[in-house]
Symmetry: D2
Subunit: 291 residues, 4 copies
């Protein structure tokens, strides 16, 4: 089939390659002319035969909104827009409505896979009406991993990004789990070779996983991670997961702890711990560290 | 080689079978005569040629202590005792010392694998002096999974159980991660088939793991887990992990949250939330639920 | 001065009384004619001399929005609307803008005090332009407690509710602190009279507070809180505090733990702990509780 | 009455003064001859008439143990030892037994009050047999604050320190509550004068407390706490509180979060966040900060 693909960054570029390898035609647009096949959204739409499918793979928020707005003007009834970026699920509901008003279909798709996706395939979680999903199915089949799993029609528009968001929330807490265990083993003096313990866990244990394999890779590159700072960004999905939990009155202690640990990792000094130090000084004359 | 094995419960019985399949001789003792090969520890020791290796696979605490005490009387210098149960690492240091005073070696071994171990092998983390570990190595090789991983000499006596303890702490937080994500998906109305989302995650995602596979198995048996109560025991290892963290001033927010969630799951009613309700009633006249 | 007061429930009714005791004129409107002084917002506005001050004391969300909308139609340039309810600070910014477009001033005011406010005064945190705040100042002075403290002009429109929101977030964690300590004392067998320990803490300790006094009151009414269920609602402010923290990348582990404890307290059974039980059963054959 | 007092540091020195002001005789011993009344424990015991009461006010652990050991040799049946330091409650049970074997009574006493105790009195929580407590009562009455509260006989030996330990656990979470709220107010741009908001909370609010008064004092000295580092030690009591909770299967999420925040505050860089960064780098090619 033919696919228009908007956004050819690290993810989009690799996805174009994987879809082409499956025998489909991809017309790619990017603001960077060096990677683009066409030089405008107008040209992209013009090169595709109706009914069209256009996959948007640009950053969430304003970039996605403005792309959807432009496509709403350029496309025709019967065409379908796929948002494969990291949009918040509430944006999907809005976009689906805006496009439906013009007779254009909408599918949202959460994509997992990172730099490994080109070779191993991308896990896909998508949402939207069955007729619109069916139109995109050949592309989904090209992108997904070999095997029985790796893609799911999760529900109506927004369900794909919602499922991907929860996936990332789980990912935060799993990473935190390994990280906490690693720090404890490194700090205590009982285990003499923490890396080999991690390596041994790759088979036969309850905690074997792809993330564990990656942890071993990382330790093989730098046994005590001496070359890294303990500093971690967070993407929107972790925050949205906690917000969705609050909306639904679901307690998420481990996922939220993982998000907060990232917040704290980015602080040069902790304001709240200054207040703790100040209070200790007030009531107990405890020594505080002055700057 | 010849091995004495004390404790032939669910774990010990399967381990005997796996070691025998590898061609070794196992003399097993258990208080339950129906499963035992011999009828006393004395008989077990008598059937083995010196220097002996005796593997203890009984519950942590008093049962392990009393078995070690009896073996200290029955065994001879040059023999080796392996504690393959779930002992706290601090007990290992004690046992190693007690046995060393009689010239008997000691190795501790954390064993992971559960009901899957007989066929897939057991992950093993062991600690002790190299000479004692070498004596047990053929048994370790018989028990461990196929492949390059699955067993590790983690350090001195106690290091095996310490590593296994941290493994279990990580396991608590990983299970909590999936559980939190599952509850949020079930509660929110966006995703219509949560089980299929979990199933799809088994390939291509960052969070694929053996535990995820088990979660899918569980959902295939009971899609919404309607037949279960939200009630979870905790073994000693989760508690000891947090205690070891406190001893080492290591923050473990996700693992500890997972432990506390289990504590709370076992309460019919929460005393602390009664106090919250009482305080709300005092200052705000908020409605409280009387019993 | 003259004040229009919309909403004469538990809070609004007592506030009318306290303002009147200070010698001001209050014209109160409520949907319940038994407590109202006038029978419509129109009548309320008609009874006040321009420039008017109208205090809105109705539930956050739609009730406040529709009252503000109606007042925007009924009032005149130079009048001032005060939102003394529990609105989210983001609503204040919206309301301030809508009213400003008609030349009407806006002040938001977070009010603390509960059932004790009539006699002891209400703590007030308000936001808005200085000229609008000045118009309401006599009412603030009537409502606030005796003494040097208890009211503050916290910043621009929205700052009052933001400050009150954070106050409530702190309150959640303080209540949780006492509740956790109480449960531990009750559960451990060391302390024989927990109530007397709480009572003793009311003087000389680091943790003495008004909330502690209330806890002692509650224990005097029901020593072990046997008559209550461990069930606690949460108002919007706790949730908004965590959301504001996420927006600002501020870690709030204790406040969030307190919010999640309330969520959990309202669940008959915990879905996430069902998943934990299911996973334990899958890998270990651990006994689970079937319903 | 006559009291022997061992340990005349910041706490002990002030306590001697307060007891003397109440008209009692205090014979004080300290390793520092400049503050001591006598030059040895032997001399201290010799100066007191039997039956004696000796109050030990030295650091927990080895210093307290060795003092108790020496007093066990020097004192006579009928004498009473009070441990007013910060011992773990489990030590009390041990000390009570050791002293009882010689006919010597034992009372443990948790003391709160810090640098404010000399003037305001010390909150006291004590444990032991009624007959031994009665012997110390005049000293307790001298030390406690004016008013009806501030001292309690909490139970058998160990109950005093247990109650004080929980007091400190609650204190951790209350301090954390204010600290979190303060950081959020400082970080968000809504409230323009955070210090004045804190000041206003001192009357009429649900969260008014002595700790809040101290926070205002601290902010008056340094409005944004610019002169402090966000670094906080923890005493044993916070750790023991969490350990006691684990022993009793009581979830303490807010208190534990507060303890972990202190642990994290003392780390130059966070090992666990290095692992998070390493994993992000492995799967996503996310930028990491190299040192």
């Amino acid at each position: 089939m033919e696919l228009g693909l908007v956004g050819l960054g690290k993810m989009g570029g690799n996805m174009r390659e994987r879809i082409r390898r499956a025998g489909h035609t991809v017309v790619g647009y990017d603001r960077n002319p060096e990677v683009a096949d066409v030089h405008s959204l107008e040209e992209l739409v013009g090169k595709l035969s109706a009914p069209r499918v256009v996959w948007v793979m640009v950053p969430a928020g304003e970039p996605t909104q403005s792309t959807v707005d432009q496509l709403a003007e350029l496309l025709e009834p019967g065409d379908v827009v796929v948002d494969g970026g990291n949009s918040r699920w509430t944006d999907d509901e809005k976009h689906a409505g805006e496009l439906a008003a013009k007779g254009i279909g909408f599918v949202d798709c959460g994509v997992s896979g990172g730099v490994w996706g080109l070779e191993n395939g991308y896990a896909l979680m998508y949402g939207g009406d069955a007729e619109h999903v069916a139109r995109v199915q050949p592309v989904f089949d090209a992108l997904k991993p070999e095997g029985d799993f790796g893609s799911v029609h999760a529900g109506k528009a927004g369900a794909g990004h919602f499922a991907k968001m929860v996936h990332n929330g789980i990912e935060y807490a799993m990473m935190q789990a390994y990280a906490e265990g690693w720090e404890l083993l490194e700090k205590a003096d009982s285990v003499t070779d923490v890396r080999e313990v991690f390596r041994s866990w790759q088979e036969g244990t309850v905690i074997r996983s792809w993330l564990l394999d990656l942890a071993v890779n990382a330790l093989d590159e730098d046994e005590h991670l001496d070359g890294l700072r303990g500093y971690a960004q967070d993407s929107g999905e972790g925050r949205w997961t906690v917000e969705a939990a609050i909306d639904n009155a679901v307690p998420l202690p481990a996922i939220t702890a993982s998000l907060f640990a990232r917040f704290a990792s980015r602080q040069e000094d902790s304001p709240q711990m200054k207040m703790i130090a100040a209070l200790r000084n007030q009531f107990g004359g405890h020594a505080v560290e002055k700057k």
